[in-house]
Amino acid sequence: MEPESCCYIVGETHSVRSPALTRTIDLKQSPPVIMSSYLEALSKHMEAVNDLNAYYNSLSYEQLKAMTFLERVQAYNWTFELFAFAVLAIVIGSFAYGNAANKSRAKKFFTPMSEYLKNDLNFARVGFRTADGTVLPYMVQHANTWLSTFATGRSAIDSVSVRAHLLPRNNPMSMLMDFVVGLAFPSLVNNDSNEYCEVIVKPNGIYVATENSKINTNAQELLASKFKFITSIVNKSFMSDARDKNYFLSLTLTSENNTLSEEYVYMSELNQLNTFIMHYAKGKDVNEILQKATKFLQFISFTDLPVDRPLSAAEWEAKQEPRVIIRSNFPTSQFEIDLLKEITSLVVEVVDNFTRDLVNKTPDLLITAEFQKKAKHLRTQELSKIVKEAKEAEAEELKEKRQDAERQRIRQLRKTGEQEKIDRKMKEKRERRMRNKQKQRM
């Protein structure tokens, strides 16, 4: 609207056109001219760069030959080269700084976390043993952006893995591009591009009161039947995001409750499961911990279903695994590291108490037979939905393949001239039918 009115004013009210306005009108009227104006600006800059050495280039071969090496160096304008070196230095400097910053963050978090898992939560093995026998407290991958540690060997818990993702500080250009693309097209930005930390606690259904206690033999049975449920405490700031990225959370009901801190909601497959974490966190003030973590914790979730939506029955079966997921921002301060330790300890406590109650067959178990029936029903429904979708996708693929084959066949017939014969026959058939119809009408 505006450019048109601008042209109109120029054309109507001013008898004398300024060169600037004439240029503007020309630019508006023909888009290729706008493009050429950009190229013009670019070529001007390139010319300016070339002109830096206009004097040096104007010197003849004989003149250059007459000069000493030092005189030639002095005659040459090194501005562009210095600029290029400066850019290179910035790239190398930012790479070194980014790597060092990520290493420092990783060390600051993973070293105390590994110690906590070993000394306070009593895991027998923490970290990774290399071929030469040294134990690494944590692993780094992808230029210090993906970090992980692992702990195993404990009653009630099969393993704890701590995974974290850091920004690629060694590549500020990619960070900048992510930011710019994210501003214009948020859906294009990778889900994992932000910094986060995930602690995954896998139960094993085994409870031993002391080191000499007998191990219960029904561990696998307990895991397969009693750990199949979804209940979570989700920070209100991450509700939609968490549901969007995690398949298991998108199957839950969201509800608020007076028993829970105002900044959080429950997301459980059945409302009766909402109290699960509170119930089994005996002796720990869950709300107090949650209150401290309002700006840090994203969710704590007990689940057996996968994060990514399964696309087939086989994938559904393969990806079912009871576990607890603690997702938070990456801890950067001592306060946040301590907080994550506290939350991990809370989850371990809940798993411990739940497993103990299961093994001891305590009467006030929250996971009742009725609940198991409902959970099974939900999973059966979901599986049938996935199977149906998979079949539809398969049928669609088959249809496309058939259409492709048909197109290929017609192309082949055209090449050999067979298609023309078929077309002619069809045409004759149509004409014969038409004639018959006309005869009948007569």
Partner: protein, 189 residues
């Protein structure tokens, strides 16, 4: 009066005034620039004040609604679960972002393309838009969040009136979307 109608009236009036102005006169260009910058500044201040109020109120009441998926991408309906605070902040941040986008566009048109007319046309509408913004009405003018101001807001404009892709807030739609299992779709990055 309907904001769309007033926008058209303002635009027509501004076009008539702009015809009578010599946009090549440096003095007029100077005053147009001052007026445009003042208008943008007032708009920015209004939105920032509203933003402050939203943060200060910290209303953590949960709201659930179903948004239509992108039909071009074959997306399904999606449940949005958020708080009043986050919903309002997202909305007001969008408005603030639109100021920056407008500023960049006007800067390009005026400084590079040498148009002054668009600058003149944009003197009133940002301020008007700010005072007609739902968040400003609720938080700055203290209007109750009922009727048209009930969250989630329905998209205004002429296109919205003909569109069936409205946000759903009825219990059945929300309950259906809540257990639909539409999360965790892998993205090909």
């Amino acid at each position: 009066m309907n904001p769309l109608v007033t926008n058209v009236i303002i635009m027509l009036v501004m076009m008539q005034i702009s015809r009578r102005l010599d946009m090549e006169d440096p003095t007029i260009v100077f005053y147009v620039r001052i007026l445009y910058c003042s208008s943008i500044f007032i708009t920015w201040v209004v939105y920032q004040l509203t933003r402050r109020k939203i943060v200060a109120k910290n209303d953590l009441t949960t709201i659930k609604y179903v948004t239509p998926g992108n039909s071009f991408l074959g997306e399904k309906e999606k449940l949005e679960v958020t708080t009043v605070r986050d919903y309002d902040l997202k909305d007001i941040d969008g408005s603030i972002k639109s100021i920056y986008t407008g500023l960049a566009m006007m800067g390009f048109m005026h400084l590079y393309m040498k148009y002054t007319n668009p600058l003149f046309m944009q003197i009133i509408s940002p301020v008007k838009g700010a005072f007609e913004n739902n968040q400003v009405k609720i938080h700055l003018f203290g209007k109750p969040a009922v009727g048209d101001l009930k969250r989630p807001f329905n998209a205004g404009g002429m296109m919205a009136a003909f569109s069936s892709n409205a946000v759903k807030t009825d219990k059945k739609s929300v309950a259906d979307a809540e257990r639909a299992g539409n999360g965790g779709f892998k993205k090909d990055n």
